[in-house]
């Protein structure tokens, strides 16, 4: 357990508790002890963080991360993923179950948790599979997964195409009160597609994935949600039609939450350029009007969280023909900088940006943290909003380098990350303590 820490005179932005102003934050025994707008005395032996000009924020929580362990440790491990997380300001991550072996049993959940304990950097919350082996045929043992430590169930990477099975998954998960997280893609509509269907796919001669491949599944699952009274979390929303349906469902009081990735907020399908596989992902980068709709949806509350869908892949997965390239990019270490682009552009106020990275995800999944009231876990991210830097993929803590943002100039950088009152990232270095 950590010592006493005083964060002095930083701009504390804590959306859940309505705080946005210069404050002192005192941390003791791994928890927030006091937040004060008057200067606090430095307790004996306390470490002081001079946070003048910095933002002192609730630690970021990423609902959507692929840690690749077990099975693809060459791309990422729980340890390297946690390093990347804290370097990106994340104090908690939800680990997707599409590992090799799939996390569809308590045994795999426990393995991931034991690796996370050994890494001892940030909180890792596993998500279990909806269906055994992600095959979309039979429900996995949800009860066992939850009792072993899973916080949600998802077949992420694949949709549950069988509507009856999806209906049962939503019904059954109500026993445990966990969200069913869904990757929305009608495989009959996306079949053979390599990027968003539009003028760019036509120009490049690539088979397109129409927006309807996502929107049709969102519509289906909202119908099932209404019937089952379950909890649905829609992963990586990418298009205007989905936003419209989610907004309307929320208005009607359905228990639906949604996330968007920083890259879907920043890039459109033109980023594919001349077959850049670093811009290949599922769902694909969409049209500019979709990007605009997503930006509006994070402002008006339709979208609850920014989540990275951190998807590490090796060079050989990307240095191939576009159609063969594997989907996904790493995201943990670029999320804040990309979100700050919207803040600096006046498209997103700072408080809402912080909410999308902290309280929003905590609330969506019922996770601890995400705010800084006394008694809350001392999971804290310190950001310098004005530091200018350039993304250098070669310096990522992630084991993988697959990003379209290498070389992109950013303004706003994570300077410190604290988990349970312990400094785990500062001065550009991850602080290991194993």
């Amino acid at each position: 357990m950590s010592a006493t820490v005083l964060f002095r005179r930083g701009r504390v932005i804590d959306p859940r508790n309505g705080v946005d102003g210069v404050r002192d934050v005192l941390v003791q025994d791994g928890k927030v002890a006091q937040v004060s707008d008057a200067p606090l005395a430095v307790p004996a032996g306390a470490e002081v963080v001079e946070a003048d000009g910095k933002w002192v924020l609730p630690g970021f929580i990423d609902l959507h991360v692929h840690l690749r362990e077990p099975g693809e440790e060459g791309k990422e491990t729980v340890l390297t993923g946690c390093r990347a997380a804290v370097a990106g300001g994340f104090t908690a991550v939800v680990a997707m179950p599409n590992t090799k072996v799939v996390n569809d049993s308590g045994l795999v959940t426990e393995l991931v948790l034991s690796r996370a304990r050994a890494a001892n950097l940030c909180h890792v919350y596993p998500a279990g599979a909806i269906t055994k082996g992600l095959k979309g045929e039979e429900l996995a043992e949800t009860g066992e997964l939850i009792s072993s430590g899973c916080v949600a169930i998802t077949d992420d990477g694949k949709p549950v195409m069988n509507a009856a099975l999806m209906r049962r998954a939503l019904q059954y998960a109500t026993l445990f009160g966990v969200p069913v997280m869904v990757h929305e893609e009608d495989l009959t509509l996306s079949a053979g597609g390599a990027m968003h269907e539009g003028p760019t796919s036509t120009r490049l001669g690539l088979r397109g994935i129409p927006a309807s491949a996502e929107v049709a599944m969102v519509a289906r699952d909202l119908v099932l949600l209404e019937e089952t009274k379950g909890r649905l979390h829609i992963a990586h929303v990418s298009c205007e039609g989905s936003v419209r349906l989610i907004r309307e469902a929320k208005r009607r009081g359905l228990f639906v939450t949604a996330e968007v990735t920083p890259h879907h907020l920043i890039l459109d399908d033109r980023a594919v350029g001349d077959y850049d596989t670093h811009a290949k992902m599922a769902p694909p980068l969409r049209a500019d009007r979709d990007v605009e709709a997503l930006r509006e949806a994070i402002v008006d509350g339709t979208i609850d969280a920014i989540a990275t869908d951190h998807a590490p892949h090796g060079v050989l997965d990307k240095q191939v023909e576009f159609e063969k390239g594997i989907n996904g990019i790493v995201g943990l270490e670029t999320a804040l900088g990309l979100t700050m682009e919207l803040v600096h552009a006046g498209r997103l106020d700072a408080k809402r940006a912080v909410e999308l990275l902290s309280h929003g995800p905590a609330k969506a999944f019922g996770l601890p943290g995400g705010h800084l009231a006394p008694g809350a876990p001392a999971d804290i991210t310190v950001v310098d909003p004005s530091e200018e830097w350039t993304v250098d993929a070669h310096r990522f803590y992630s084991r993988s380098r697959n990003t379209p943002f290498h070389g992109r100039k950013q303004k706003g950088r994570v300077v410190q990350t604290w988990v349970s009152g312990r400094k785990v990232y500062a001065d550009g270095q991850v602080k290991e303590s194993r």
């Binding site: 079949a191 053979g192 269907e197 539009g198 003028p199 760019t200 796919s201 036509t202 120009r203 490049l204 001669g205 690539l206 088979r207 397109g208 001349d274 077959y275 050989l316 240095q319 191939v320 023909e321 576009f322 159609e323 063969k324």
Partner: protein, 297 residues
């Protein structure tokens, strides 16, 4: 040294320079210059080809180059070698140009980023077939003198056609109006943004065209039901003898081949007076000589 990865991005004067140069390579023109004597051109054809491969072979030989003919059967690709490794290994043998056909759109772009010799796209997936577009334009220029103000109607499976995309850019750059026609299921979105006029009514579009370019129905790329039947396609979009009669006087019929006779084009039309299909093939060699010269000079 420059690549020819597609027509997109080439300026009109650059395209015209290639076409002008091709004229010198026509039979009876000034003799071949043997500008590639002692050099090697590598033909990397990952997909089957008769016309294009032969044509590039003839063109390279005509310029005095040796030709390395490579195909995937019996090569290390069957042992799992990646495209890039194959290309780098071929490059290491010293060709001045790699002429490449591949089933994946963008494959030549990938190779071009990693080799130093010129890369010439001989057809990539459903993206571009630039040398075909140049020889088509050459053929039309030969007949008309120039393309300004002319209307070319491209009919058929636009979705899967690399010829359609390259021709669209090429013909537009050279001053022609391009109308594309086909069933909605075989028409990719956003063609208007690329400069085409789109119609699904062949009978209405036909009388306006100075040339009709029929495309092959690429049944091998159609795993799903794009069409109710080939018979219905032929009835709605086939260039039949009856339709030919409604064409403008002097209007030309083109096809990049291979033809599905009786499906997209009636045999009598394919072999008729309007047809310039074999001229396209003959002109291909001259145009490809010019391409090789421009890319390797």
């Amino acid at each position: 040294m420059r690549h020819l990865l597609g027509i997109e991005g080439w300026r009109r004067d650059e395209l015209e320079a290639v076409l002008d140069r091709a004229r010198a390579h026509l039979p009876g023109g000034p003799d071949a210059t043997h500008t590639l004597r002692g050099k090697v051109v590598a033909n990397l054809f990952f997909e089957d080809s008769t016309r294009t491969r032969t044509s590039f072979h003839m063109a390279a030989r005509g310029l005095g180059a040796g030709v390395l003919n490579w195909s995937p059967s019996g090569s290390s690709t069957s042992k799992g070698e990646t495209l890039l490794d194959t290309a780098r290994n071929i490059e290491a043998t010293g060709p001045v140009a790699i002429v490449m056909r591949h089933r994946s759109s963008g494959a030549p772009h990938l190779v071009a980023k990693h080799v130093r010799c010129a890369v010439i796209n001989a057809g990539d997936g459903t993206h571009e077939h630039p040398s075909q577009a140049l020889l088509d334009a050459f053929t039309l220029r030969q007949r008309w003198g120039g393309l300004d103000g002319r209307t070319v109607l491209i009919v058929g499976d636009i979705l899967h056609s690399r010829v359609a995309r390259s021709n669209l850019w090429c013909l537009k750059a050279l001053g022609a109006r391009v109308v594309v026609c086909g069933p909605p299921t075989l028409m990719p979105p956003g063609l208007e943004a690329l400069g085409a006029e789109v119609t699904h009514n062949l009978d209405a579009a036909l009388p306006q065209a100075d040339a009709v370019m029929c495309l092959r129905l690429q049944l091998e790329r159609m795993g799903e039901a794009f069409l109710p039947s080939t018979k219905e396609y032929s009835r709605l979009f086939g260039l039949t003898a009856a339709r030919e009669e409604r064409m403008k006087a002097g209007a030309l019929v083109m096809h990049p081949g291979p033809i599905n006779r009786g499906l997209e084009l009636a045999p009598s039309v394919a072999d008729g007076e309007r047809s310039v299909i074999l001229e396209q093939v003959s002109n291909g060699v001259a145009v490809r000589r010019a391409i090789l010269e421009v890319c390797t000079s």
